[in-house]
């Protein structure tokens, strides 16, 4: 009842507070007429295709039909959006899109069963309040569904703070994947404060990407630019700190795997939502002392990053492109808390990536090489989390989990005639693919698991 009363009070206070905040902030940072309206429309259409050149373990999830070797990957889409400036520091944006994403073909033995998928989605729905305060201070409030990218240099790898689960620690990446594009990725709110080269973003995020849906995370991202050539950043994400239902995120016994029956897929999996840690084995009786360890999908992520532009630092010649020679990097900690057996070593929960924009001399806008090291020895799959709300990794036999520590990506993009953008990528990253119709669901296991695995993608976009 106390929580219920709190909800009511919060709602009323928020509504009433908006009126007060609007009036007092307008007095400090008036931005013109209250009802001036300026609307701009924008749009884009694209086609992308590519091929999985080699995939060592893709058939693990769903059996042989899921064999992605040699699979062609193709999609097309159209997006229309508008931005509106209302005056008084307020603006808004919305967008919708239609995507034709096509099932993977899978193994040649199931190539007879295939169909395309048309899906519509919203690319943005936000309102934003901006105010400039005295002494170069700026504040911004974002509410709704909006894009946020704290590390725009990352083209593929990285962005650990806001992408993916904590337990299991599964980084997310892929060709122009969510988080690296202007499409919205945060449902919730963000309050930003900036002064000079310092900026701080406080985010309240409702989980809409990974199950359990609607848990709330609180994240804070700070960035500092001490000199024009150098930018430093750090952040913390209290992932699912406000679970909608604590029993989901921190399950106790009895918990079941009724949704996926992963136990039936993986015969060695007897840890549905707890870890069975063998403490000792009595050699005489051959009986084991086993500790049952409970944990949670909730956890704390940390992030640190840098961006160094030697062109600015050394005042080099302008024949370089704007992005050329920029060195950037990011490291994350996916979960501060240790659990035995799977999460006992924090170093194995620390992905680190470095990127370098190769000199393209204006021939390309972006031409970057990214490399990542992530020493987790768990199978790179979050299917149990998605389907069974399990924070325990999926043990898979006959897979060498030590062979996917290194990831890499070579990416380029070029805008022609102001409105035509070509981009492409060759990579061995954390690509996950929608299974062929025979499987019929998203494979939460990574497609590329060894240094031999790679794929390429190409995309043509026009935009205005």
């Amino acid at each position: 009842m106390r929580l219920q009363m709190k909800s009511i009070l919060n709602l009323l206070l928020a509504l009433a507070g908006m009126g007060w905040a609007q009036d007092s902030l307008r007095a400090q940072g008036s931005r013109g007429a209250l009802d001036s309206l300026e609307v701009k429309y924008k749009g884009a259409a694209w086609l992308q295709f590519g091929r999985v050149q080699h995939s060592t373990y893709s058939l693990v999830n769903g059996g042989e039909p899921n064999n992605m070797n040699g699979n062609w990957v193709q999609a097309g889409g159209v997006q229309v959006a508008s931005t509106a400036r209302f005056g008084g520091g307020w603006d808004g944006a919305m967008g919708m899109a239609v995507l034709q994403s096509e099932n993977a073909r899978g193994d040649v033995s199931v190539a007879n069963n295939w169909y395309p998928i048309w899906s519509t989605f919203m690319s943005e729905a936000r309102v934003t309040f901006n105010a400039e305060l005295p002494a170069s201070q700026k504040i911004q409030l974002n509410l709704g569904f909006f894009p946020y990218d704290y590390n725009p240099d990352a083209k593929d790898l990285g962005l650990y703070l806001l992408r993916g689960y904590v337990y299991p620690g599964t980084p997310v990446s892929g060709f122009e994947a969510r988080g690296t594009t202007p499409a919205a990725n945060i449902f919730g709110g963000m309050f930003s404060y900036g002064i000079g080269g310092w900026k701080n973003d406080l985010l309240l995020i409702s989980e809409t990407e990974n199950r359990p849906y609607f848990d709330l995370s609180i994240a804070d991202v700070a960035s500092w630019q001490p000199v024009p050539a150098l930018q430093l950043g750090a952040g913390v994400n209290f992932y699912r700190v406000l679970p909608r239902n604590k029993k989901n995120d921190s399950p106790r016994q009895p918990c079941t795997n009724a949704a996926t029956n992963y136990v039936q897929i993986d015969e060695i999996d007897n840890e549905v939502c707890f870890i069975q840690d063998t403490l000792a084995v009595d050699p005489a009786t051959q009986t084991a002392t086993v500790d049952t360890v409970y944990g949670s999908l909730s956890g704390t992520k940390l992030m640190g990053r840098f961006r160094l532009d030697p062109k600015v630092l050394f005042g080099w010649d302008a024949s370089f492109g704007k992005q050329d020679l920029v060195l950037y990097g990011e490291a994350g900690v996916l979960g501060l808390k240790d659990y035995p057996k799977y999460y006992h070593d924090i170093k194995r929960r620390m992905p680190v990536m470095m990127g370098f924009n190769l000199p393209a001399f204006g021939w390309l806008d972006k031409f970057s090489l990214e490399v990542e090291y992530y020493a987790s020895k768990n199978f790179a799959d979050y299917g149990k989390a998605e389907s069974d709300y399990s924070w325990v990794p999926r043990p898979v036999s006959d897979v060498n989990n030590a062979r996917d520590d290194w990831k890499w990506s070579l990416y380029f993009s070029k805008v022609l005639l102001g409105h035509l953008r070509l981009s492409g990528q060759v990579a061995d990253d954390h690509l996950r693919m929608f299974g062929p119709p025979d499987i019929g669901f998203m494979s939460y296991a990574e497609t590329l698991n060894t240094p031999k695995d790679w794929y390429w993608m190409f995309k043509s976009t026009f935009f205005f």
């Binding site: 709602l11 609007q22 729905a125 449902f187 849906y213 909608r244």
Partner: protein, 497 residues
């Protein structure tokens, strides 16, 4: 024959712009995100919605085109991202996000006089109409919901209370003369079965003095059936349609009328066929105390201190034993805009009383809120052949999950748990605990275009279905609140222009 005609009509429309003049286009848009929580739901017999989070977002684009001196066209489309209801722990693991696309407007309007306030206008197509704009949640009985059964419709920012989205397909004639105005609407049914029937509605409103308005209306619901054998079921169209009812009656002994589907023998020689046709009448009023008493206090907001109300008869004709008492078909609501002193656009409280005794469950009527592929996961409808005008029975509610004791209580087949149903807020045939509904609504617009709104209520909300498995859905057909202890909270932020 229809296809060539459609082709010709299409070609004619295509040719229109060539013969016309340059048109002016005015765009209107809105986008929003919303979230909330079902704080308490007493009825957990089918699905446990307690604590379920509700979250969605949407956007809409509308255009108004000036087609000539007295002619305007309107078009629009929108998109909602919604989720299955979560249900319990096992069910929510299957929750999917789905997108619902819709046409928000497709009309042409001919008007005489000022466009914003015409003396006469005729609108043809897909259009919006709201005869009682003061209503925020409860009310609007004339055009929302079926007559038999008399289910009321409401919910946070319900589709039918949003005048930016079309809820009617047909013809709307409007006439205004000084303080008097009247509206005639002929519309095709496209929400609820029986579909495509035509209804004829009329609303008149009179404003004797500033600040006071009275209105009344009538809706001849399903007056012109698309197929009369569906609207008023008959054996002629579907042989054996009445056989289940006949068997029940022929078995002798007392017959629970809720177990029937289409017809009832009220007394020897008196057989009633339950029809979907019916007549609604409505009366309404608004009193703006600021204007009536000449208050010009600048502290009061434009919407403050307005008292409004509405009453209706959902079906003036009695039918069988289920609809035998007209007193149980009269919803009445009162609303009052509390003084918000400019801090909010409005802060309103609404209260409603409606004494219908049956459970508001659409599964015998055939309402489909499914988010899934219709061909592989049909909603759990109880009547397979034709929509029934009779509400669900205790046995229907028990389904395969419970057995019913002679006292009318339920026994869970799996657990053996006995659940008291008869005479409680779970009783589908004598539901009196849900007679009162209430709603507290607030709204604040900043910068002329950014809107915050919220609601705390116990209303007629029907949550979306629960995805109980990979290709199955359950629920999504019943109003979730059945007692005074039940309530939910919702909030929305968005912009519009």
């Amino acid at each position: 024959m229809i296809k060539p005609l459609s082709l010709l009509a299409g070609m004619g429309l295509y040719a229109l712009p060539c013969n016309g003049h340059a048109v002016s286009l005015q765009m209107h848009s809105q986008a929003w995100t919303e979230a909330g929580r079902i704080m308490h739901a007493t009825d957990t017999l089918q699905t446990n919605f307690n604590g379920n989070w509700e979250q969605s977002m949407g956007m809409q684009v509308n255009g108004a085109v000036d087609l000539g001196e007295n002619l305007e066209g309107g078009f629009g489309f929108g998109m909602n991202q919604v989720y299955h209801s979560l249900g319990d722990l096992q069910q929510e693991k299957f929750t999917l996000s789905k997108f619902i696309d819709y046409v928000s407007e497709a009309r042409v309007t001919y008007f005489l006089g000022e466009k914003a306030n015409p003396v006469f206008s005729a609108t043809l197509g897909d259009f919006a109409f709201d005869y009682h704009p003061e209503v925020k949640n409860l009310g609007l009985y004339l055009f929302r919901g079926p007559v038999y059964p008399g289910f009321l419709v409401s919910g946070f920012e319900d589709f039918h209370t949003d005048t930016t989205r079309a809820a009617f397909l047909g013809l709307h004639l409007h006439h205004s003369l000084g303080r008097f105005q009247q509206d005639l609407i002929i519309s095709s049914e496209r929400d609820l079965p029986p579909s495509f029937d035509w209804s004829l509605g009329y609303v008149a409103k009179y404003r004797p003095v500033d600040g006071l308005e009275f209105g009344a209306g009538v809706n001849f619901y399903h007056l012109l059936p698309d197929n009369a054998d569906i609207t008023t079921p008959s054996n002629r169209a579907v042989p054996g349609l009445f056989s289940k009812d006949s068997s029940l009656i022929a078995a002798g002994g007392p017959v629970d009328p809720y177990q029937l589907q289409y017809m009832e023998v009220v007394s020897p020689g008196d057989t009633v066929v339950y029809t979907h046709q019916g007549t609604k009448v409505m009366a309404m009023f608004d009193i703006d105390f600021k204007k009536v008493f000449g208050s010009s206090s600048p502290a009061l907001g434009k919407k403050d201190l307005i008292l409004y109300g509405e009453g209706a008869i959902i079906g003036i004709k009695n039918q069988g034993t289920i609809y035998a008492h007209i007193g149980d078909r009269i919803p009445v609501m009162l609303g009052f805009n509390l003084p918000a002193m400019g801090w909010l656009d409005f802060l309103s409280v609404e209260v409603e009383r409606y004494t219908a005794k049956y459970k508001a469950d659409y599964s015998k009527l055939g309402y489909d809120q499914s988010l899934y592929f219709k061909n592989i996961a049909p909603p759990p409808l109880l009547v397979k052949k034709q929509p029934s005008a009779i509400p669900i029975s205790t046995l229907d509610l028990a389904g395969n999950r419970y057995t019913v004791t002679p006292d009318g209580d339920f026994v869970n087949i799996q657990t053996g748990q006995v659940i008291k149903v008869k005479g409680t807020a779970l009783d589908p045939e004598n539901l009196t605990a849900d007679d009162w509904k209430w709603s507290l609504n607030a709204e604040k617009t900043v910068a002329g275009h950014v809107r915050f709104s919220g609601q705390i209520a116990n209303d007629h909300f029907v949550p979306r279905p629960v995805r109980g498995g990979l290709i199955t859905e359950t629920s999504g057909l019943s109003q979730v609140f059945s007692s005074l202890r039940d309530w939910y909270v919702m909030g929305r932020v968005g912009y519009f222009f």
